[in-house]
């Protein structure tokens, strides 16, 4: 019998036994000596989640902990139903993970295709599936015409798209994108939002960003962080509704964001 369900296997059809893709309780993560994430509770399921917060709120440190790059200093973190503290579990989680770091490092002499292939290899994809998966990832970020270019010749926006391609090459169940829209022009940002919605249908996508309008346009859910803690979580509509006309900001969602942060700061000052 030949493969009927192309690219689909028992793994894809197996029911999930975990209620949340990401479940953090009292999570603490260090960045250097400083506790950048301090007692964070967060639950994320399928969908596109925006992570908002001022600079220094601990967004990047949280992303690194979720990407299993840094070990949490305390609290509980369950990813895709696995604890992640044991080596075998960590490996299983990482196979289903896609991560675009904020400081996207790359090998300058690699071509785009070689780089994405290398990441596919690092993600332990079956070697027979790699060429097709790489081409598909490059197509999805509209970088296929540049597949043969060396990474060092790419512009900033193209590098970001190459970074997104390496993150989605294994069709991850948990996709973590740290500032993915930096350097993208308005048209590419629109395409990128489409891609997010597409991936977010059955995967959990967490997008850390400064750009509140990206969140409004592409996210099903918003989490706001401040000083290492989660201060607000809800839909973009609810965030927009949280703002009053007097709050700073040009759009409803910006006003809502300022109002949420201000309410939290006022509450913690008391």
């Amino acid at each position: 019998m030949t493969r009927v369900w192309n690219g689909m296997g028992a793994v894809d059809l197996a029911p999930t036994t975990h209620p949340w893709t990401v479940e953090a309780a009292g999570l603490r993560v260090r960045a250097g000596r400083h506790l950048a994430v301090d007692g964070l509770d967060l639950r994320l399921g399928a969908g596109v989640h925006g992570l908002l917060g001022p600079n220094g709120a601990g967004k990047t440190t949280l992303m690194r902990a979720l990407a299993t790059v840094v070990r949490p200093a305390g609290g509980d973190l369950t990813l895709l139903g696995h604890d992640g503290r044991r080596g075998g579990d960590l490996r299983r989680v990482r196979r289903r993970l896609g991560y675009l770091p904020q400081a996207f490092g790359y090998y300058p002499r690699f071509t785009v295709r070689e780089f994405v292939e290398y990441v596919a290899w690092l993600k332990e994809m079956p070697s027979a599936d790699v060429p097709q998966a790489v081409q598909r990832a490059l197509d999805r970020v509209d970088l296929a015409p540049r597949a043969g270019y060396r990474m060092r010749t790419l512009s900033g926006g193209m590098l970001r798209r190459a970074g997104i391609a390496q993150a989605i090459v294994n069709d991850p169940d948990l996709l973590l994108l740290d500032e993915p829209t930096v350097g993208l022009d308005p048209e590419q940002r629109l395409d990128f939002r489409g891609l997010l919605r597409d991936v977010g249908v059955d995967a959990c996508v967490l997008v850390s960003t400064h750009l509140v309008e990206d969140v409004a346009a592409a996210c099903t859910d918003v989490a706001v962080m401040e000083a290492g803690r989660l201060v607000w979580q809800g839909t973009p509509g609810e965030l927009a509704a949280a703002g009053a006309a007097g709050d700073p900001g040009d759009t409803a969602i910006e006003r809502g964001y300022s109002a949420v942060l201000r309410a939290h700061r006022g509450g913690s000052a008391r």
């Binding site: 250097g32 690194r64 299993t68 840094v70 070990r71 490092g105 300058p108 690699f110 690092l122 296929a144």
Partner: protein
């Protein structure tokens, strides 16, 4: 199962040509379960697929023509197929390895250090032919490039690498092995030129490499390599150069201990494999 079905009569395993035709025409009488089994069969049976065209009406043919035309145009205008790179045993391998460029300077430094030691031992101080310089530097030679191959500073994509399942002891050993494969011939040549038997330099070299990996699980490979290099320099190299005597640890009698150290350290590395999952365990 590969024989062509004779017309009109369903042969075992093949759907009847009539059924294939009705399936192709989208006959509502063909229920879902039958359609799936026909589909499954057609996927693997070329003779039955050939029957499909007969059952398609004019609109269907036009659609197929359009699709075929679009695919043809895509093939012509799209990028040329990239030949798959194959390595040993016909397996696909990644075309490049990420850190070669970052590690090369350190490899060259190590080989240079070895060349200097070799030259000094051969040419210099004829009154003191005992100074076993090659033997003294042999444990240090692999430390620099191994540390460079497994550090966040040297791997531009470390953050991506350490979020992947391959990050761990396997990748570390792969890189260590690559470093040793480059250095072993250089060490063998230096040993030959200075008359040092291979076992004399090989055991300390392997012991220090394994030691840096084992200790590296606790404090990071770079720090471990630096600490081991410092200890060896202060504890063995300097006293040897001062007293001009072959140290006890490099006497032939100590080789059994070196071999035991290699075995123990390798066992520690394997047992503590999880320490290396985050590229360096310290942050």
């Amino acid at each position: 199962m590969n024989g062509r079905p004779s017309p009109g009569r369903p042969s075992p395993g093949h759907p009847s040509p009539g059924l294939v035709t009705r399936y192709a025409a989208g006959d509502p009488d063909v229920d879902d379960v039958t359609a799936w089994s026909v589909e499954l069969h057609l996927d693997g049976c070329a003779p039955c697929r050939a029957l499909l065209a007969g059952g398609v009406d004019g609109a269907g043919r036009a659609l197929l023509d359009r699709v075929a035309g679009a695919v043809d145009r895509g093939i012509v205008s799209g990028p040329a197929p990239v030949p798959a790179r194959r390595g040993l045993f016909g397996r696909r391998v990644p075309g490049r390895t990420g850190t070669v460029r970052a590690v090369t300077p350190w490899l060259l430094t190590a080989v240079g250090l070895l060349a200097v030691a070799c030259a000094a031992q051969r040419l210099g101080s004829p009154q003191d032919p005992q100074d076993p310089l090659v033997l003294l530097v042999s444990p240090l030679v692999p430390l620099l490039p191994v540390a460079a191959a497994w550090s966040r500073g040297n791997d531009p994509a470390w953050e991506i690498v350490s979020s992947t399942p391959r990050a761990g002891l396997g990748l570390l050993l792969r890189r260590t092995l690559a470093v040793l494969l480059v250095l072993m011939p250089a060490l063998a040549l230096a040993g030959r030129l200075t008359g040092v038997p291979p076992v004399a330099w090989l055991l300390p070299c392997l012991a220090f490499t394994a030691g840096s990996l084992a200790l590296g699980g606790l404090v990071g490979v770079s720090r471990a390599a630096a600490a081991l290099a410092a200890v060896w320099s202060a504890g063995v190299i300097v006293p040897t150069l001062v007293t001009r005597q072959v140290p006890a640890v490099l006497e032939p009698g100590a080789r059994a201990l070196w071999a035991a150290a290699v075995a123990v350290l390798c066992a520690v590395v394997l047992l503590r494999a999880d320490d290396h999952r985050r590229l360096t365990s310290h942050d």
